[in-house]
């Protein structure tokens, strides 16, 4: 599984970012290989409109299976994610990344 976390900083210690399309960074953790990569989303953040679907497309291009975030994507982004069968978990907006990952493993996050 490739799991994406919307974060405030490009680090595993970062707090989660509650927003989806306008999160500045995305941390992508590949459970198989144990590899962590950071996706810089700041260019998308500066778009007037349509940040959500653009971000969703970026996630699709990176082959993400699961997204963990706070509030959840808006309708447009949801359309893209549905197309790609990406699963979204919400409610992790006030955790740090490690806590969010644990909550996901424990099954305590709400599926969007």
């Amino acid at each position: 599984m490739k799991i994406a976390f919307t974060t405030k900083e490009p680090s595993w210690d970062s707090m989660m970012e509650a927003r989806f399309g306008r999160a500045e960074y995305v941390l992508i953790y590949d459970e198989q290989s144990g590899q962590i990569v950071f996706h810089d989303n700041r260019e998308i953040v500066n778009q007037e409109h349509g940040a959500g679907p653009k971000m969703a497309k970026a996630m699709a291009d990176l082959g993400v299976d699961v997204i963990i975030t706070g509030n959840g994507p808006g309708e447009n982004a949801r359309a893209v994610l549905a197309q790609m069968n990406t699963v979204v978990y919400v409610g992790a907006g006030e955790m740090n990344v490690a806590e969010a990952y644990k909550a996901y493993q424990d099954g305590t996050l709400e599926k969007f």
Partner: protein
């Protein structure tokens, strides 16, 4: 005659003035009230009009034709609004982001994005007592208020003659929908209240109206509640004060119940009458 009623700030009494003024004028003349606050149309709460006609209002958006598309994705590049995405060998269209500029459609080398109508909101035409009432209502989540405002005005132009007094209830603020709502009015009434917030937002509304080179005047609502700064400002800027609607708790109560105030409170009616005279005089180019 087209009169737009606007205010820099919400909650100053724009809808109160437009509904009461329209109904008052409607007692002797042919009047249509048009609610152009398409994101929050509230006038009908006070008018309880009888629905005459309802139309879906459309905007043109591209539809992706997968059979002829060569997936060059030029359309994605040509869209400045992120309304198109190329994903997993498909072009996805996001209607609520589309401004209907036609660039993607007309520049598509294979003609694979024909423009087709999609519902963005509704226009309703009511009869409320002696007056006609037309309302534009944007679907929630839809952002192209300007287009619906333009279409609502067009409907009014097509269905009412020159003699009819047209009163436009504009959205609050100074952004693009406001400009669309007031840009072809013969006269603009700016509603404010005599408080520091009211004055500050009035100055913004005045600036907007001046940019559009419109004739305008000010109505001070809830007169007596705050201070004299709005009056001082108007005198200093040579802006006519068309009326001062007294601050009355009874008026606020009637408003809260969704009732027309001028029918119940004489002092209020006198001011509405005054405003009506001023506006008509201004439109005919003579001072009262």
């Amino acid at each position: 005659m087209k009169i737009a009623i606007a205010s820099g700030k919400g909650g100053t009494g724009k809808t109160t003035l437009s509904t009461n003024l329209a109904m008052f004028l409607g007692e002797h003349e042919s009047v249509v009230l048009v609610d152009l606050d398409v994101e929050e149309p509230n006038s009908n709460l006070f008018l309880n009009g009888e629905l005459l006609k309802k139309e879906d209002k459309m905007k043109m958006i591209p539809r992706w034709d997968s059979t002829s598309c060569t997936l060059c994705a030029d359309c994605v590049q040509n869209c400045n609004f992120n309304a198109l995405l190329f994903i997993a060998n498909e072009i996805l269209v996001f209607p609520n982001l589309c401004h209907s500029c036609y660039a993607c459609s007309e520049l598509c080398p294979t003609g694979s994005l024909p423009m087709e109508p999609q519902k963005m909101g509704e226009l309703s035409h009511f009869i409320a007592g002696n007056i006609d009432f037309v309302e534009g209502r944007l679907n929630i989540g839809e952002e192209q208020a300007v287009s619906l405002i333009a279409q609502t005005k067009k409907y009014v132009d097509q269905h009412f003659d020159e003699e009819t007094i047209k009163i436009f209830d504009a959205p609050p603020g100074t952004s693009c929908p406001v400009i669309e709502a007031i840009k072809d009015a013969d006269f603009v009434i700016l509603v404010t209240e005599p408080t520091p917030f009211g004055l500050h937002d009035l100055t913004l509304a005045v600036e907007t109206t001046r940019i559009l080179k419109k004739n305008f005047g000010v109505v001070i609502n809830r007169y007596g509640m705050g201070n004299d700064d709005v009056e001082t400002y108007c005198h200093h800027e040579n802006i006519p004060i068309l009326g001062k609607i007294p601050h009355l708790v009874e008026a606020a109560k009637l408003y809260s119940e969704g009732k027309l105030i001028y029918k119940e409170i004489l002092a209020f009616k006198a001011e509405i009458q005054n405003i009506a005279l001023h506006v008509k005089a201004h439109c005919q180019g003579v001072m009262p």
